[in-house]
Amino acid sequence: MITFDHVTFTYPQLNSSDAQEPVLKDISLEIAAGELALLVGATGSGKTTFLRSINGLVPHFSGGYLNGRVSINGRNTQDFAPRELADLVGFVPQDPLTGFVTDLVEDELAYSMESLGIDPQTMRRRVEETLDLLGLADLRNRPLRSLSGGQQQRVAIGSVLTAHPEVLVLDEPTSALDPGAAEEVLAALHRLVHDLGVTVVMAEHRLERVVQYADSILMMEHGRIDNGTPSSIMENSPIAPPVIHLGRLAGWNPLPVSIRDARRSAGPLRSSLAGQRPHLRVVPDSTPLIARVRDLDVGYGQRTVLRDISIDANAGEIIALMGRNGSGKSTLLRALIGLHNPSVGTVRINEINPAKMPARELIHHVGLVPQEPSDLFEAQSVALECRNSDSDAGCEAGSTRALLALMAPEIIDSTHPRDLSEGQQLILALCIVVAAKPPLLLLDEPTRGLDYPTKGKLADILRGLGETGHCVVMATHDVELVADLATRVIMLGDSEIVADGSTGTVITGSPMFAPQVAKILAPQQWLTVHQVERALNNRGRAETP
């Protein structure tokens, strides 16, 4: 269905002095009809470029030089512009909201068909079919902006599906979604592949969510692609979900990629772990109280977003705020930093009301890394940004830069902050916030769009901050990060606190939020591969003498 024949692609040169490195290097591969191919790779390895080359956005829309041949069902993308491939390839961009053209769900579903000139009776029928197929029938009259993230993603998929494409290309369809909404989207995709035989090519960082659905994996590294079955590729891949790491640790062969397969091989491992308890980082009991929230209510206009929230956060704690999209996580973070004045209740950081504090002093008490780290940037280069940060924080010159060099030594001074990769932007924003030495550090969805190595690095940095007496509060959907990092989990639902307790008890309590290792080794309460490894080593040491 999709054929790449010695494809090399280079973006147009920005200035004549430096030659551009090709983004795609001599890629030759074949994706068969009806296959679900998963594209895996580190941030900046060229995944989005590869996906866009399938429907001709690269090079027709992006510019640049493409050598070799990309053909979809016999149509060469050199001869067909993206709009002429619209009946064959459906492309769902990373952020569905930026791709919506109309206002209402039903109109959006019809848009592609209108452009293709499909006759009105067929359009009417296909819209109804697609509404049913993706479970959108109740939402047909809803404005697109009022939908939740998972619903928007399903509408985006439906809106290209109505044109009956044979290939569906998706760029990180679940990265912004809570576990439940991600399940919805993936279930819909699974159904398309199995019932309609659609060929799907999908890029995704969160392998723990998708790898079990894939027929093949395209492993992308520095512009080259290695193609194979999931278990063969995963055997040596540095980018792998916890189930693979656990399988490697336990020496399972063949390597299981799904929870179901892993659970069937896990009997011996479970018995060898019996009687041991996971080693947990314990927060000392008597650390100073940093943030105190009492009976907090926050509302926008008529709508209540938070109701009756009470939290005490102590130094050294790493607290994860979880809950579905729109459950009030971001609002709680904004209330903690004083961007929302509570309608009822109090927020105190070190006994001070953050909403009343001048910004200049506030940054020494509490800092927030926003969902879009680039919102914090204003300078034209990294060096300048760091200098601004020093003067804002009133700390000695060069301290932000030193911090950055420690966390991400590869970042160069002269780079424009917006040209950094997502992970680098996050780390720069974190350095700017930490430079003012706030005891309370807030992060909003820090791992959105990060690959496993960057995520591991972030986890190390945050753990270090926790150990030096910071209190870290992060809103996140990333179950595996929470299992690895958090000491406490607060689950929000319907604007109230649903659960508040240690990580182990809260996340293993619900199947939706349980990490992979916990699912495989249940009823034992292991959360991460690291804990299992440590326990096995201890046992080994105990047995040798």
Binding site: E84, D103, E106, G135, D138, D178
Partner: protein
């Protein structure tokens, strides 16, 4: 259930005809009672028929805009306007300007008449804005797009996309302004806004590139079997017809224009437009999903607007010879304005869409669908 009660979207063109007619009527008068009736009619129709979708809320914004227009107009009169009339309200300290700037005046005595005149004038502008706002909240701009002939479709898309970016820009600006506080800056005051330009524009640019890529990959602008020459011909014809229609309307609504500018150029413009649309509709490939039908309610709504405008134009023509009509349209500034009977009739007619148009479908649905509780604890 009759066709007046069945919930559906009214054809957006009907709403716009109704609203633009009311706006055109407003340009003919300065009588605040008549203007008030036009605003009231628009507000009643909006209150009864606005959809619960986001664009339905825009009417309130236009009401505020109207108030703002009035205030600005009056303030300008107080500060710069010439003092005419006889009833002195208050005397502000004035600045005497050199003789070569004798047309200008700053401060000085404020007369009741000149203040009232400014208020009437501001109210007229505000009425136009509010009535247009009514159309905006009753029919979303992108629904109007559906009714645009295929030759002008691409032009229409760029206008609608540009319109939809404005609310997005505002929310971006608010978000980034908040972020300034996180860097330890003040987030109020002029300086805080001045540093927003680059991040906000960068965001808008990113979004428009994404939207363009998405539209391209969904088949927007597919080449159809129309030759590019005939396409260019149609676009050219339509553009020239728009120019002619605009000039024609201008001639029609400015009382001192040459008679040849008005009706003749309007009718020639409309003729060319009809021909161009017929020509382009001949071999188009774009189809429209569930096009809005033009049925009795659409006819009644647009007729209500056109009839209202007709009554105002009739009064306007009579005013040229009959002084009593003139004083009804433009009341003297030293006496209480009168409300003529024909104004009430026009009001009753302009109000009928509140009852003759079908109620819009609800866009809220059931909020709780598919929002499954993730937290099982």
């Amino acid at each position: 259930m009759s066709i007046f009660q069945r919930t559906r979207w009214l054809h957006p063109v009907a709403w716009w005809i109704w609203a633009l007619s009311l706006a055109a009527a407003a340009t003919r008068v300065t009588n605040p009672l008549l203007l008030g009736l036009l605003i009231t009619a628009a507000a009643i129709v909006v209150a009864r028929r606005k959809p619960d979708a986001p664009w339905g809320k825009s009417f309130e914004f236009f009401l505020v805009l109207g108030l703002f227009i009035i205030v600005i107009r009056v303030v300008f009169q107080v500060v710069f306007g010439a003092a005419t009339g006889s009833q002195l309200l208050i005397s502000l300290p004035g600045i005497s300007l050199p003789s070569w700037m004798s047309g200008l005046r700053i401060g000085g005595p404020i007369m009741l008449e000149s203040l009232l005149g400014a208020f009437y004038d501001g109210l007229r502008l505000a009425t136009i804005a509010i009535v247009i706002g009514a159309a905006n909240s009753l029919a979303s701009p992108s629904r109007l797009l559906k009714a645009i002939p295929s030759a002008l479709y691409e032009l229409g898309v760029s206008v609608v996309v540009a319109l939809s970016f404005i609310p997005q820009l505002i929310s971006d600006a608010v978000r980034i302004r908040d972020m300034r506080r996180l860097r330890g800056r003040r987030n109020t005051g002029l300086r805080a806004y001045a540093t927003l330009a680059i991040p906000v524009l960068a965001g808008a640019l990113d979004r428009s590139i994404n939207l363009a890529a998405s539209m391209d990959s969904r088949g927007y602008g597919r080449v159809n079997n129309q030759s590019s020459r005939s396409r260019r011909l149609v676009v050219g014809l339509l553009l020239s017809s728009i120019v002619l229609i605009t000039v024609g309307l201008f001639g029609l609504f400015t009382s001192d224009a040459h008679p040849l500018i008005g009706l003749p150029s309007l009718s020639i413009g409309v003729g060319i437009a009809v021909f161009a649309m017929w020509h382009s509709g001949h071999n188009r490939t774009r189809t429209v999903y569930r096009p809005d039908a033009w049925t009795l309610p659409e006819f009644l709504v647009s007729a209500a607007g056109v009839l209202t405008l007709g009554i105002y134009l009739w009064a306007d023509i009579r005013a040229e010879t009959d002084l009593s009509f003139w004083s009804q349209l433009h009341p003297a500034l030293n006496q209480w304005p009168s409300l003529p009977l024909w104004g009430l009739v026009a009001f009753a007619i302009s109000l009928t869409p509140a009852f003759t148009s079908p109620p819009p479908p609800s866009t809220l649905g059931s909020i709780n669908d598919s929002q499954k509780v993730g937290a099982g604890t």
